[in-house]
């Protein structure tokens, strides 16, 4: 019976090393097929007519003009007359045509009449939201009145960040093929196994008739736990068109309008302090939106459990494309409000925020020591003690430099995961799992674990994922994938190895428990010269391959949850133009046992860059009058480019004290702090707080002009 644990550091061949991703050659050569790359014989192109109004009722739909077009093969009304639509870009009518130009022309020829209804798309204050603002009951901890009466210094400030979108480079969508009684869905999804039932239900077919396939996905970030209504529609069009496959992917404008958003959050914060830096009380009135379903509820104050709190949150329900999970839901908002307010508190006390954070670090609870260790490493990496100055860079000239910091946390426990590991009598090995690789390196991690456990080269293992016919594995969200898939594949590999040992033992004149798998051999631990090659050992299976099911959860302690991270930023601000430039950002992050150091670091680098995007550039700009998004394109919905990110440094907390915890997810945590660290660095540079992200030049200049951001517009 195998002991279900990770190998000790000196026994690891691949685990924890810097391994290049195994699907790299496919990706760099253009051979990697994404769902939107799938071309099928006779394939039609689907398009959707969308509402131009933020709030409307469909009065009538006239598709007669295109019904006789030879190139139009199917029409499907999504929103029947009478249907209320809650955001601009809502789907009304879909059609499928022989090619894209025909489909685009056909869209123009569909006539839809709307009854336009009043809308709200602005979320900058709760008063003007009127009936759309839903105030929650006040939330009280400790004795806030006492906390503020004991305070020697009280600060107040405004903070917040707007709705942003996911902007996956591969838009949402699918190629749907209604083949006889079966539906094959080439879906762009973060949940291959989990999409089957969700496709079957609205189509009223058995889930056993649905197959989801996806080799690669071009970004999800929380927005692709589909299928979406347009995917179901594509299947319906395929059925109406006699089973011809239908490709339906969002054009970029629809993608940015309707296919996901991160809720906004704003807050007026008051903090009570002792002059020595002790935090005595927190008070906040916060609000935000995530569209018609409302927004999130960011946990403020974030991480620092201030003893006395009074909080009230207002949810604005409005007519913007609905929110979806966005990498580390609620945490970036909570950090951008809390860590900035705390930095303002330190500035009011004329304390170094590094000292102020450490002074209060016990308020962070069980991870206080990890945060302290990480802050110290980050400070060394960015020369904090040398380069930090009190608020406002006093050096002459228009370029002002500043430093900022923040800390963050996340859970990251592994999700449920099944896999089948098959070992053939010729020694070839295949792992099948209904998971997906979001670019995090899931394929590579599986290969590392199986090869390391079986003592064979990585290229001797075939990794098969991205098909719902493989054993069920969880959706990739909330940093739950690596914990789930590493545990199930490790268990399967250990169980399979046990059986190989049992088959090989007689030939080696040893007991199974005395064998080990090392460097492509099965050998006797006490006498390594007594060995079989891997292939020889597997030949003892006879003619029958061995298949072992691995599961998570399962026996042994292979995964864990709860991580801490610290980040610091060094920025320069031109106070004449208001332009913020990143000089450097450092990230110090723990995530338990690291499977692949190379791809783990890549995720942290990527999170920092995504953080620069939402700190400096990203905003879903809504027009109050028309209710439409003004920047549903990539010229004006801005992302950082290769020259905008400064120098980035990632330090992973690994080795003793971390490895023993087991595997913990990493995707979310490092994206939490960048908004806060950059905002704090800008405040340190220019001497005043720019209250709201993104830190665009106009916001920076306004904060400078008003000598502080408390009166600035959102």
């Amino acid at each position: 019976m195998a002991e279900y644990k990770w190998p000790d550091a000196d026994k690891r061949t691949f685990i924890g090393k810097r391994i290049s991703r195994i699907d790299g050659p496919q990706k760099v050569s253009g051979r990697a097929k994404y769902s939107s790359d799938v071309n099928r014989p006779g394939m039609l192109f689907g398009k959707i007519v969308r509402s131009p109004h933020a709030h409307a009722k469909v009065k009538s739909i006239d598709t007669s003009a295109i019904e006789k077009w030879p190139g139009v093969k199917a029409i499907h009304v999504i929103a029947e007359p009478g249907t209320e639509l809650y955001w601009a870009g809502a789907s009304v009518v879909a059609l499928a045509a022989v090619d894209e130009p025909t489909a685009e022309d056909a869209m123009q020829a569909v006539k839809v009449e709307y009854e336009v209804l009043p809308h709200l798309v602005i979320d900058t204050d709760t008063k003007s939201a009127g009936e759309f603002a839903k105030q929650a009951t006040e939330n009280k901890t400790g004795d806030p009145d006492k906390g503020f009466s004991e305070a020697e210094v009280t600060i107040e400030g405004n903070y917040g960040l707007p709705m942003i979108t996911h902007c996956c480079l591969e838009p949402h969508g699918s190629v749907m093929e209604w083949d006889g009684d079966n539906v094959v869905a080439h879906l762009s999804t973060q949940a291959v196994s989990g999409s089957v039932a969700l496709i079957a239900r609205p189509l009223e077919i058995p889930a056993t008739s649905v197959r989801v396939q996806q080799d690669h996905i071009g970004g999800g970030f929380g927005s692709k736990f589909g299928p979406d209504e347009w995917d179901i529609t594509a299947a319906r069009l395929s059925k109406k068109a006699g089973g011809k496959p239908v490709k339906m992917f969002n054009p970029r404008d629809a993608e940015l309008m309707v296919a996901g958003a991160r809720p906004s959050d704003y807050a007026r914060v008051k903090i009570g302090l002792k002059k020595d830096g002790t935090i005595t009380a927190w008070e906040s009135q916060s609000w935000g939106t995530g569209g018609i379903g409302g927004g999130g509820s960011p946990p403020i104050p974030y991480i620092f459990n201030v003893p006395n709190q009074r909080k009230q949150h207002t949810n604005i329900v409005n007519h913007v494309g609905s929110a979806r999970a966005w990498r580390a839901p609620n945490h970036p908002q909570a950090a951008a409000i809390t860590m900035t307010a705390l930095e303002d508190a330190a500035a009011a006390l004329n304390m170094d925020p590094y000292d102020f954070f450490l002074k209060n670090i016990e308020l962070t609870g069980q991870r206080a020591q990890i945060y302290s260790d990480e802050l110290k490493i980050a400070a060394d990496l960015i020369d904090w003690k040398k380069d930090w100055h009190s608020r406002g860079d006093k050096t002459p000239g228009h370029m002002k430099r500043g430093l900022g910091l923040s800390i963050h946390t996340w859970g990251g426990l592994g999700h449920a995961s099944d896999c089948d590991l098959t070992i053939q009598p010729d020694g070839s090995v295949e792992l099948k799992m209904g998971t997906q690789d979001l670019g995090t390196g899931t394929r590579t991690a599986l290969d590392i674990i199986v090869a390391d456990t079986l003592g064979i080269p990585m290229n001797a293992v075939k990794i098969s994922i991205g098909d719902s016919r493989f054993p069920t594995s969880g959706g990739s969200g909330g940093s739950t994938t690596i914990g789930g898939i590493s545990a199930s594949s490790r268990r399967a590999s250990l169980d399979a190895l046990d059986q190989i040992f049992a088959k090989a033992a007689p030939a080696l004149d040893a007991k199974p428990e005395d064998l080990e798998a090392v460097s492509g051999t099965i050998r006797v631990k006490s006498n390594p010269s007594k060995s079989l090659t891997w292939a020889q050992a597997c030949s003892k299976l006879g003619a029958t391959p061995l298949t072992v099911r691995g599961k998570n959860p399962g026996p042994g302690s292979l995964t864990n949850q709860g991580v801490g991270g610290a980040q610091m930023a060094d920025v320069s601000v031109d106070i004449e133009t208001g332009i913020v430039r990143i000089n450097k950002i450092v990230a110090v992050q723990d995530c338990g046992l690291i499977i692949d150091l190379k791809t783990a670091e890549s995720q942290v680098y990527g999170a920092l860059i995504m953080g620069v995007c939402y700190a400096l550039y990203e905003e879903k700009i809504m027009d109050a009058k028309t209710g439409r998004m003004l920047n549903p394109n990539m010229e004006f919905y801005k992302l950082a480019g290769i020259g905008d990110i400064g120098e980035l440094k990632v330090h992973m907390m690994t080795g003793k004290g971390y490895d023993e915890r087991g595997v913990i997810g990493l995707g979310e945590p490092p994206v939490v702090s960048p908004g806060a660290v950059i905002s704090n660095a800008v405040a340190n540079a220019i001497g005043v707080r720019v209250p709201y992200l993104p830190l665009t030049p106009d916001r920076v200049l306004e904060a400078l002009e008003k000598k502080g951001g408390n009166n600035a517009r959102i």
Binding site: R31, G219, I645
Partner: protein
């Protein structure tokens, strides 16, 4: 063309993009049959379409044929007619670089070029960078430095890097930041791309042509 007339009547803003897609006007396009000649500002120009016209493209050294409407972009012709899906459609309006191809030695956004205009030119797509099963040094450098996550921007980035290094064999970091500023990545792989460019430059990104 009827579409054009309708647009003009309305006087509504004919976007650059729409214009590109509906106009199909080209001054010098060889090998295409069935055009009309009209006068625009006193000059004679050939007008193709609006129906499908035969085109021939020279892609990765091969001559490939397709039938497309004149408004179809090179990107859509590659992806939808020729099953060359390495170039990706992301912004579809010349912002993000995910569809970058090389035309006559120059990095070009394939979403901003009409397929009929690309005739008679030498087009290299990401599929044409490998020699047999051997990766181009830029491709190998992208793997070695993990300059990819989801990989959707990667083909465009690889092609852009190849074209960039052909012109700047030993770029400074500042040149890299400017020269590759036309390719956007959402996962955040720029650190890897910088390292990949440095590696490929040292090993000779030009080596394979």
């Amino acid at each position: 063309m009827q579409d054009d007339d309708k647009m003009n009547e309305k006087g509504s803003g004919l976007s650059r993009r729409t214009f590109l897609k509906v106009s199909g006007i080209s001054l010098s396009v060889p090998l295409v049959m069935g055009h009309r000649v009209i006068k625009v500002s006193g000059a004679e120009v050939k007008v193709f379409g609006p129906g499908k016209v035969p085109i021939q493209l020279t892609i990765n050294g091969k001559n490939l044929s397709a039938q497309v409407e004149p408004r179809v972009t090179l990107l859509d012709a590659l992806r939808n007619e020729l099953d060359l899906t390495g170039a990706k459609r992301v912004c579809d309006r010349a912002t993000c670089g995910s569809c970058t191809v090389i035309i006559d030695g120059k990095a070009v956004y394939a979403c901003a070029v009409l397929a009929i205009e690309a005739q008679g030119k030498s087009i290299t797509t990401v599929e044409g960078l490998m020699q047999g099963e051997n990766l181009h040094p830029v491709q190998q450098a992208f793997i070695d430095n993990d300059a990819q996550q989801c990989g959707f921007c990667t083909p465009g980035f690889v092609v852009a890097c190849k074209a960039f290094l052909d012109k700047n064999p030993n770029p400074t970091p500042e040149q890299v930041k400017k020269g590759l500023g036309g390719n956007l990545c959402r996962c955040g792989t720029y650190m890897g791309v910088r390292a990949a460019v440095a590696q490929a430059a040292q090993k000779g990104g030009r080596r394979n042509g």
